[in-house]
């Protein structure tokens, strides 16, 4: 299986451990990646550009979709935020032929045209819909037995359900739990799993943003989770990077590692901690590693 791969800015920026971990895991799974970043694909706008210039955001995303169409490959990302923003843009473009024509008039400058066939899908959904949970189990050589993990989706991969086509693909709703179970881990269900991590308001209202970090990480910890697992690098940045501040603010110990989805896959597939970039986290992943008997 080959994909037009959209890694997003943060997987090679603030979370530099995510991109190489993904490449290794996908290679092992037989998912061949043609990186759209190398072909000049832009940032999705992350919902921020859309606040000021929705049309420009849609033009950028249509350009990325057109690149995937040119390659005749399905489009895959590893960021919940990119997923949501692309799904929403795609819906607007597909629902209104006049709007699509207006967008295409700009893409024509580069000789591109978006025909409306792209279906952007996160690696998480690809695992469920293309690889399949049963097939995924065949790649597990180090079952994550005894590891208690709590899912943390990131808003844009769970809402709005209309653009994300949850009715058409109902298994997307609990896809993260299914993948965790397939890897042998024990799922710790917790109410914050689909709530906001607070990252979008970090530079606007840090106190509220850090409160969200404190709430979700301490809830997961109190329910006995060894780690939170997320398919969203922005959630990772906040839950991991601002957890020390959250501990100060909440005046309690939390100290729960935040693991990227590809890192969890990699650990179950037998990669070591270094290959998965686990030493780069702010909150040490050592306790997770010792629980599954992997040298730190």
């Amino acid at each position: 299986m080959k994909y037009a791969f959209f890694p997003g800015c943060v997987s090679r920026g603030g979370c530099p451990e995510l991109y190489p971990a993904t490449i290794k895991v996908c290679e092992r799974l037989g998912l061949e990646l043609d990186g759209l970043d190398k072909r000049g694909a832009t940032c999705t706008g992350a919902g921020v550009l859309q606040e000021k210039n929705l049309f420009l955001g849609d033009v950028f995303n249509a350009r990325t979709f057109a690149m995937a169409e040119q390659l005749d490959l399905p489009l895959m990302t590893i960021c919940s935020t990119c997923q949501g923003v692309m799904s929403q843009a795609n819906k607007r473009l597909k629902d209104d032929a006049d709007y699509l024509a207006r967008v295409n008039a700009h893409l024509a400058l580069e000789g591109l045209e978006y025909k409306g066939t792209a279906q952007p899908r996160h690696l998480l959904w690809t695992l469920i819909e293309d690889v399949g949970v049963e097939e995924l189990k065949n790649f597990v050589i180090r079952p994550l037995t005894n590891l208690r993990v709590a899912p943390f989706y990131g808003c844009y991969i769970v809402r709005p359900t209309d653009a994300l086509e949850f009715k058409l693909y109902p298994e997307r709703e609990d896809s993260l739990e299914r993948v965790m179970e397939a890897l042998g881990a024990e799922v710790v269900d917790f109410p914050g799993k689909t709530r906001c991590c607070g990252f979008p308001i970090l530079t606007i209202n840090e106190r509220n943003s850090v409160k969200m970090v404190a709430r979700h990480t301490s809830d997961a910890k109190d329910l006995g989770a060894d780690a939170l697992v997320t398919p969203c690098p922005l959630c990772h940045l906040n839950l991991d990077g601002y957890q020390p501040k959250a501990m100060q603010q909440a005046q309690r110990d939390i100290d729960i590692p935040i693991i990227h989805l590809p890192q969890l896959l990699g650990l179950a597939m037998g990669f070591d901690a270094k290959e998965m970039g686990l030493s780069r986290h702010i909150i040490s992943a050592k306790r997770v590693l010792s629980k599954i008997k992997v040298p730190a």
Binding site: G40, T42, L56, Y156, P160, C196
Partner: protein, 322 residues
Amino acid sequence: MQITVSVRRYNPQDKENPSYWQEYSLDVEETSSVLDSLIKIREEEDGSLALRCSCRSAICGSCAMRINGHAKLACNTKVSDVAEDGGTITVEPAGVMPVVKDLVVDQTLFWDKVRQVSPWLQPEGEEPEAEYLAPNSDMTHLAGVMACIMCGACVSDCTVLEMDPNFIGPAALAKAYRFAADPRDDEDASRLAALSEYGGVWDCTRCYECVEVCPKGVAPMDRIMALRDKAMEAGYTNNNGARHTDAFEASVSHSGRLNELTLPIKSFGILNLPAQMSMAPVAVRALMRRKIPPIIHKSVPGVKNVRRLVESVKEEQQGEGE
């Protein structure tokens, strides 16, 4: 169909154990609503169950509560949509607002927020002889916001209000948009100035909870984003939120990707030294773990194409604005 309804009960008079879960098993028609089931419980099994309801037609907005963890109107939620035969439905009071008893919440916070945005038309100048005239297209656009039935579902599930009661919140901000975007209203400037302050439009996390739970398609978050745009256009840009958006647009338009190193610096304001310093511990920790973006920000390959695209889009938009 056979269902179990698990209700989060709350009895303020019970000082020892005021809050607890109680399960009721009952037979209901597949076409029954959750509200039908709750009324059946109250009338046939447990008269002490408190809930608020009236029209049973998704018009009055009285019966917003959390069903299976998310805010919904009990009257327009079919039992068969939220549980299988033999399954369980969890019912809790709406979130954020304090519980009075069982499923009844005190909506004071909700109404205070709505009052805070002066939710009435404020035209200037002499009153016209007949009615105020407004273009059809403007009013059709506003019909979506005016569909709000003030049920409070969006407030219940708002991720910010859950943390900070100072936030004006989705329902009141959607209401503020309804007047700020009304061509007959002349108080846009003062409305947008107030909404650009702490607790206003920039405090929203853009999490889409309110869009997802609104039973009337009001899409409060989309209205909040439209208010941000209006506020920036009106010149209310001296705040972290507007600076963040400006810096983001500039970075992506120039290089095709986000410059993660300069974005927070520009959002706080380059001369805002206390804010810049507050980031230092986080930056040092990240540096020690090599968890940082490349120091030299690189543009995407073929960035000239991106810049030409941005120019083309902006030319079209300027043409529309003239």
